[in-house]
Amino acid sequence: MSSDQFQTGRLTQFRELLERSDAALVLTAMAAFYLLFFVVGTILNYDIAGLISVLGQVTFFTAVYALIVLALNLHWGYAGLFNIGIAGFMAVGVYTMAMLTAPPTGSPPGLGLPVAVGIVGGMFAAALVGLVTALPALRLRADYLAIVTVAISEIIRLTYNSPAFSTFTLPGGITLGTGGASGIGDFPSNPLRAIYYVDPSSAASETTPIGTAIFGFFESVFGVVRSAVIVELTYGLVLAVIVFLVYTLLARVGNSPFGRVLKAIREDEVVAKSLGKDTNRFKIKTFMLGCALMGLAGVLWQGFGTGAVYPQAFRPQLTFYIFIAVIIGGAGSNTGSILGGAVFANLLFLLPQYLPNIIEQTVSIQAEPNNFVAAIGPIVAGEIAPLLGYMLNQRLPALRFVFVGVLLVYLVQNRPEGLLGHRTETAAAVNLNRGHTGSDLTGPEGGVDDE
């Protein structure tokens, strides 16, 4: 009994730690996801390289989703800007990067500029397209921004898809192109590979001294021989650092007079105006910053992560995935955005990809039926096998939407504020609490975030 009490005590302590520390919360969630996918990999009898690859994927998708959910949270959670053209702004970012950096001799040809120029250029272009979108739309009511952004997103995708721009010549005689429906695959690979390989474009090239050391370490400890999964894992970790930097940037934006005005715009724009705030300027700046970050996310995900850019990757469903992640995390909370991104990436995006294999490994079952009604119907009679069979039958994208739908219905009914949306993150550069006398920073009430 006393050990029970001890355990409950520890549990309460842990819960309090999670309430207090965002870092602990995020790290705990990540630990849980790593464990989950470690188990998944073990069930599927992966070797160590395979396990590292799975965990690398967890890191990568968590990071890219977190990044883009953070950007959307700036738009929607903070300023109430209903941007449903996320996929389009990501596309502008990564396409610009690819077109700037692809070699002039490539197919399609590019400008052959350094990667750094490509990244900055991609963000800049996304911000610029954001500006062009926002200028007319922000003067109108919020719903119009939604309509305009979803339209612009599709226009962007179809433009990149169009054969007309597959290759084209600028007035100055420079030829470049979008590659049309097949996109661009011929642009510099992930710059991180330069850490490992003397020739970053080839995994077979000589390794650098650092590369030799790290590969040697993995070989001696895990017995993994010079595998690309190590590079992937490193990239995931670098992305995690970038997420942290963007989080810090956005936390600063939020905890400032600027963020306060954004919150006011979200709540009641007329009031913000009546208090002398030029709300259009705030909205445009915010929209451009968010779009630049979406462009960056595109570069880091489809650009250096996937290594190839094609229009199909930027269909509107990508935008809806991001919105679902923001709803899961709780609009308005940056930490919630990271958690929402992590939950979506791991449980709704990655896990369904492994489910068929897991089912195959654990239950012996036929891959049928092939329609949803036949799969769901027998559940009434207590038979789950047809549903599992249906999952096996390569119907996962459809199933993912079912999961997402069920989750959305549950969230909207039971927890509309998301995981962390209930928290008030005070928009000020200082702790606004104080003692009623004197200017002591620590007032008698202490914390600010309860009630």
Binding site: L249, R252, V253, S256, P257, F258, G259, R260, V261, K263, A264, R266, E267, D268, V270, V271, A272, K273, S274, L275, G276, K277, D278, T279, F282, K285, L289, T424, T426, A427, A428, A429, V430, L432, N433, R434, H436, S439, E445, V448, E451
Partner: protein
Amino acid sequence: MSSGSAVDSVDEDPAGDTAGEPPLRVENLRKEFGGITAVDGASFEVADESLTGLIGPNGAGKSTTFNCITGVQEPTDGAVYFNGTDIAGLAPNAIATRGLVRTFQIARELAEMTVLENLMLAPQRQQGEALYRSVLPPFRNGVVEEETELREAVWESLEFFEIDHLAEEQAGNLSGGQRKLLELARALMTDPDMLLLDEPFAGVNPTLEAKLLDRINQLRAEEGLTFLLVEHDMDIIMEHCDPVIVMHQGQLLAEGRPEAIRTNERVVDAYFGEQQ
């Protein structure tokens, strides 16, 4: 506010204090909504440092007049001079930064922001409203410093309005009267030259109401603020406002000292004739 010294002064209208020019002069103001004329050629002045009352039966056009003066709605025709400049048709924020600030008839608190945040929002021209200053390390210190100063002013204001115990409450959780107080406190935090108050005392208890009226008179005398007040409580109007402007069916019906208004036959007809 006397305590608002942390806030940069907004007095920079070169045309201000022109001899004899009243802070607010409305000329032939018209506002039509489709076929309905809500304000039909109203002209009046508000004298410097006065507490002018604006009354009239429901639908007289008082709130529309407020909206047209403060830019929330664009007048169909006419001119609004504030400190000598025509501000008709300017954006509400451009008018507010000139020092003409309003409150709303139905309090518009920022519901999902705390009371503290609501007030911290109000001061004009905060350094940290520039994105780069809020984000970049070299400027961030200045922002923090300014926030610390503003915080002092905000807490003093909260104490004066007796809502300091609600400081960290979400504004949406406040009662109707508390919201009115919050809105008045917020408007004052902008350090205005002139305030347009739309029924500021609705739902405020009599003790606090008296205190607020004292404060208004103090701000007039010590800081030269001017007030234009829409109010349905005739006792407040007759006791505290001078002069009183009466609107009826979008037009000016009468203007003068409260005693004169009280006995003005047209006013009595418009008001009590309609009500009985």
